[in-house]
Structure formats: C-alpha cells, structure tokens
C-alpha cells in the first residue's frame, strides 16, 4: 500500500473514533483535507524542494496512531527537565501528541498570556480556534501565480500539512493578548514515548496579538532510543501589528526518530518574527518554514543549524514571501555534516509585485567534514518588482586548514582545534538567540554535540 493510502484508510475506517476524541474546530476541516488528499501523493526525494529526503518513505512504515487518546507514556515527562539555568520558564510537555501542563504553569502565567491544550482551547474559544486553525497551513495560495514558478512545490501546503489536519487531535494553543509582553519564555517540551512505533500528529497554534510579544522554546526528545517514532508537526503563528515572536526550536531526539515539521507564519505590519531551528540529534528531519510578510515594515529572521553524523538526514526548506512594501527578511542556515550524514537546504524568497523596497537576504553555509557526507543547497529567488535589495550565498566546504595549522602551531591539539572551529562556524546562528541564558545553553549543547556526545539531555539535568 502506498504511504498515504494507509492513512486515508485509517481515516475512512476510524473517523468516528477520531472525531469523537477531538473538538469540533479540529474536526470541521477534516472532510476537505480528505478530499484534497485523495488526489495527492507525498513528496519524494528529488521532487522540487525535496533534494535529500523522501517524505513518502518517512511515512511509509506502519506506525501506530493513538486515535483513542489513551494517556500512555505521560510519566515519561518526569526525566526531562530541560531547564535553562537562570531562565524562569513557563513549561509544558507534549507527550506524543497530548498536552501536559506542569503543575505550576497555570499559576505562573502572566495576565493576558494563555498556554493550554489546543483541544481545550477549541472548547473554550471555539471561534478563535476556528478562525485561525488551518487558516495558514490549509489555505496557502500562491501569489503571484506564475505557472512556471518552481517555488510552487515548497509554497503549496505540502500534502503532509493536509494529512496533519486530517488526523490531528491535539497540540498546543498559545495566545498573547494585545499589548501584553510576556517576559518569561514559554517552554514546550515534546517527548516521544511509546513501546511500539508511533506516529504523533500534533499542532501548535500561536496567536500574538497587536503589540504583544513572547518567546517560545520548544525541544524534541525521544524517551526511548530503540523505538521508531515519527513526529508530524504543524505550527501556525499569527503576528499582529507590531507584535514580536521568537521561536527557538531544538531537536535532540534519536537516530530512530523521524521528524516532519512545518511552520507557517503570517506577519502584520511592523511585526518581528525570529525562528531558530537547531537539529543536534535525530534520524531523519525535515523542517520547512513558510513565512508571509503581509504588512509594511514586517521583519523576519529565519535561522537554523544542524550537526549531523552517522546516517542522519536533515533537510531545511524555507519560503519567505514578501507581500507588502518595506518588509525585511534574513535567512541564515548552517550545517556541519560528518560520517554519512546528508543535509539539504532549499531556500526560497519571493517578492510580490507590490512589495517595493523589500530587503531579503539568505545565507547557507556548510561544512562537510567527511568524504561520505553530502550536502545539497539550492537558493530560489523570484522577484516581481524593481525596488528590491536581495542577496543570497551558499557555500559547501571543509574546515579551514590554514586556521587548523595556526591553532596547532600555538599548541592547541588537533581535535580541540577542529571543535573550536566548528563551534565558531555556528556562532552567528547561536547569536540569533536573544535570551542570553538560552544562548549560552545552546552554545554548550552544540559544543557537547561536536565533541561526539549524543545524549545531550543528561547535560541539561545536571
């Protein structure tokens, strides 16, 4: 059976169970999602925008889906403290696809900041959820409609978003009310935990209203390193006028975890969005970012890094669309690939004909540290107006041997010199994190990972 068909079958056979265990706002879009998937297929390696990973293969194994919402595995959240020293965070867990607040979360939430289960939000605020849920992931239409646009592939909501909508039952809801600045970062710890292969379908809905701001840290972990997990996750983020949102996302799962994560963001006038996605440990990872700058002076910063080893595959795809004048975007993605790791960056910038005085930058730099590691990189620019400042650059190289010799001449051992250079290589990506304590924690995790450690959680618990 083809990969997608098994999920369509599952839906056909069990939609009553699925729907009985999910709120109305999440059930409503399912029939349309089903219709759309009937004539779709999952992306394959080599499809436009998918240079390294076959999403079809990722979804092909027979994973279990917890449609009945049996609360298994929730005790798994205990060992994962994921503390960031000196940062008082508002923390919640998502075990597979079930939202689990910490005991203190609700009490500590500042006025005007809501963090809760998406399913619960759909009960309390059906209108808010109905208005935003799937509004980005399900409705992306390509403008301008150039029939030859190669960016179509990344811009069209991939079939996986639609599949997510078809099966999703819960996730995280975050809302920051107009004018409220949430100074404490929110932290969402995602944990895969099951004793048999499991697909977790989860969703995050983030609404940052006019003039509001917040930072969200998310991290992915695997409770067991011997079980196959597939995480299918869609985030939709809405930034109101002058709103500010930072999302720092860290994957530290396991070699047997596959992750398919899509982030959709829509930005109104003067809003500022930063996303930093870091892959330190994982099996197969596909992250895609789809950001629309819809109001003047909106600014987006997309950063990402991956340190890949063994047979890890990491693919990052971006699509930044400038729909309004005087908008700015900046993309910075870096990879260090060792062993047989494979990496890919597919980065597109689209500047609409109305988006004069846009500035759009993109950089992708890569170090391929072993002869059997591979990197694919491809920038994709589509510019439909004249007054634009746009640049992009991509490099794939090795460690700078001159720098290596210089350091060794000063007595720094080869291994340490190499690590210092790799760490330095990632410095500007780490610098996109604006919370100092988090920045130094991330730097520390990167250093640990570069030194060969695969069990990074242990470091956090200490």
């Amino acid at each position: 059976m083809d990969a997608l068909a098994q999920y369509l079958n599952l839906y056909r056979e069990h939609s009553d169970v699925l729907m009985a265990n999910a709120p109305e706002a999440l059930n409503r879009p399912r029939p349309r999602a089903y219709e759309r998937l009937m004539s779709a297929r999952l992306p394959r390696k080599g499809d436009e925008g998918y240079p390294a990973l076959s999403v079809e293969e990722m979804f092909a194994p027979d994973y279990g889906v917890n449609l009945r919402r049996v609360p298994f595995g929730v005790e798994a959240s205990e060992p994962f403290r994921c503390g960031v020293p000196n940062v008082s965070t508002l923390m919640a867990f998502v075990v597979n696809d079930s939202f689990r607040p910490t005991a203190t979360l609700e009490r500590n939430l500042p006025d005007g900041v809501e963090v809760m289960s998406l399913a619960r939000a759909a009960e309390i605020y059906p209108d808010v959820v109905a208005k935003h849920y799937d509004a980005l992931a399900g409705a992306v239409k390509l403008i301008p409609t150039d029939p030859h646009s190669t960016a179509d592939a990344v811009m069209q909501p991939s079939a996986v978003s639609v599949l997510n909508t078809l099966l999703c039952q819960d996730g995280v809801f975050v809302r920051v009310k107009a004018g409220v600045r949430c100074d404490k970062p929110l932290q969402i710890v995602n944990i895969s935990n099951a004793s048999a292969p499991l697909l977790a379908v989860r969703r995050m809905l983030v609404i940052v209203e006019d003039g509001a701001s917040c930072s969200i840290l998310t991290c992915d972990h695997a409770a067991s390193h011997d079980v196959d997990y597939l995480n299918c996750q869609v985030t939709e983020a809405f930034l109101g006028r002058g709103a500010s949102l930072d999302i720092y996302d860290l994957e530290e799962s396991s070699a047997r975890t596959a992750r398919h994560a899509q982030l959709y963001a829509r930005q109104d006038e003067g809003s500022e969005f930063t996303v930093n996605g870091t892959t330190l440990v994982g099996g197969r990872t596909r992250n895609s970012y789809y950001v629309e700058l819809c109001g003047e002076h909106a600014r987006a910063k997309l950063a990402g890094m991956a340190i890949g080893g063994d047979e890890q595959a990491v693919e990052n795809a971006t699509c930044v669309i400038h729909r309004a004048p005087k908008t700015e975007s900046d993309q910075l993605f870096k990879n260090i690939l060792d062993d047989k790791a494979e990496g890919a960056f597919y980065g597109s910038i689209i500047v609409d004909e109305k988006a004069d005085f846009t500035k759009a930058y993109q950089i992708n730099r890569n170090i391929v540290a072993s002869p059997s590691a591979r990197m694919h990189t491809r920038p994709q620019l589509e510019i439909y107006c004249d007054e634009v400042k746009c640049s992009h650059g991509a490099t794939v190289g090795q460690i700078d041997e001159n720098a290596m010799f210089y350091m060794r001449q000063r007595g720094i051992p080869e291994r340490q010199a190499r690590m210092m250079l790799m760490q330095a290589f990632m410095a500007d990506v780490i610098d996109t994190v604006s919370i100092p304590a988090l920045k130094s924690r991330l730097a520390q995790l990167v250093e640990l990972r570069l030194s060969g450690t695969r069990e990074l959680c242990a470091a956090c618990e200490r």
């Binding site: 041997e401 350091m407 007595g411 720094i412 340490q416």
Partner: protein, 253 residues
C-alpha cells in the same frame, strides 16, 4: 653532537608534492643566539619555517631537525609547539568566531597539560594576559575580538609577538614580522622581542631589511637561495646585502 645546540637542522629536504623547495638545509642555533635568514622572494624561507613547525602542506623528503635534542620531525605541530617552537606567521590567519581569549586559554592550558601542570585559573590567566599585552602594547580591544579578524596588518604582527610572549618559546621563528609595521610599531615589536630574550632561548628572524636588524641584533646572518643556505656570516652580511642586493649571490649560484 654538540650538546649546546638548541636547533640542529641537517640536510633537510622538503617540498610540496613532488616539488622540492628545500634542497638540503643545514642550520645550527645555540641558546642565547639571534639568527637572521635573508634571501630573495621565493627562495624557501617561509617553507623552512613551515617545515620546522610541521605545516602539513609540506612533505619532508630527507634530513633531520632536532630541538633541544628532540626529533622535531616526529612530532605533531602541537607537540612541537609544546616543546618550545613558536612561529610568527608571515600571514597570520583570521579565525572568525574564535575569541582571542579562548584561543590563548586553549593554547596555554594545552601546553600546561603537556608539561603535567594544572590549568591556570581564570584570574591567573587574565592577569598573565594583561602582563603580556603590555610587552607589545597590544590594545585591550584587540584581545576581546576574534583571532586576527579585522586586525590591520600591523596589528596582526603585534598580536603574533603577544602570543610569543604568552607562550615563552625556546625557539621563535619570526617570519617577516617587520613587514607592515610602521616605524613606531617596529620599535615596539622589536623591543618586545628583545625583552623576551634570555640566554636560554633563541630567535630566528626572517627579514628582507636591515631596518629590523638595527633593533634585533643578529649574531649570525644566513642567505637562503633556491632552497639552500648559500652564505653564512656575521651581522655585517646584512649591511652588505642592503648595499649590493642579491645579484652577486645569484651570480655565484
């Protein structure tokens, strides 16, 4: 073998791939001495420095080199450094993202580990950095930046001597440390080198100009030409070269 030799290079032949650059170098340096190596562009001066320091670009075809009796050629570049060899690069390398402080701390503590000493505490280290900076009047601001990144040509050279001051080598090879320095900087750097001089260590200065040798007085001057040391004499040789150029050397060889 002369027990008093600090550096003993015999019949050293080296190059890149099949291209022989050094064609049999003999060079003996004793503790307390300053040697100058001069010679036309492309004659192999930087190559000699690189081969002694263990630059992996070069292949050694034959000959030997010892530092204080230790076989240099058998050691990794980092261990040569720990044994007391320092090379001031003709073209110091910029290392974006690695701060001078982290770089020096790693270097100092690696050497201490090699010598079975405890790493320096943060305050001891910073105190030492301060003291050593003063020797070459290195701006504090430079010390807080990435290694050589955005340094002017002169600042890079001054930074090399600062590192030499920190690492206290037994043998320092200064490859055109004078190039790019203004007159004041030349005086400061040269006086820095002189301050670091003891009767236990030695310096090899590679230079094209007598100007530097006015400040760092050599005991011996060598002329390297086409991968060989073709002439060795006292300090007067540098003056003679300044006057006559290299033509007479080229004619003889």
């Amino acid at each position: 073998m002369d027990q008093n030799l600090l550096l003993n290079v015999c019949g050293l032949r080296a190059g890149i791939g099949d291209k022989e650059i050094l064609r049999g170098i003999d060079l003996q340096v004793r503790p307390g001495e300053v040697h100058a190596i001069m010679g036309p562009n492309g004659s192999g001066k930087s190559t000699l420095a690189g081969v002694l320091a263990g630059d992996p670009r070069f292949t050694v075809y034959g000959g030997s080199a010892t530092l204080g009796g230790v076989d240099l050629l058998a050691l990794s570049p980092e261990d040569r450094s720990h044994e007391g060899l320092f090379l001031s690069f003709q073209y110091p390398v910029e290392i974006p993202g690695v701060s001078m402080v982290n770089f020096m701390r790693a270097a100092v503590n690696a050497k201490r580990r090699y010598l079975n000493l405890e790493p320096l505490s943060a305050s001891e280290f910073l105190k030492m950095m301060r003291q050593k900076r003063a020797i070459v009047e290195l701006d504090n601001k430079l010390a807080s930046r990435s290694v050589n990144e955005g340094f002017s040509g002169g600042e890079k050279k001054r930074n090399e001597i600062f590192q030499m001051a920190v690492l206290e080598p037994r043998l320092a090879i200064l490859d055109e440390t004078d190039s790019g320095l203004d007159i004041d900087a030349l005086r400061i750097v040269a006086s820095g080198v002189n301050k670091l001089k003891t009767n236990q260590n030695a310096t090899i200065v590679i230079t094209h100009y007598q100007r530097l040798l006015d400040y760092i007085k050599p005991d011996v001057v060598h002329i390297l030409y086409k991968g060989r040391i073709v002439h060795t004499a006292g300090p007067e040789l540098a003056l003679e070269l300044e006057e006559k150029g290299y033509d007479w050397i080229k004619e003889q060889n």
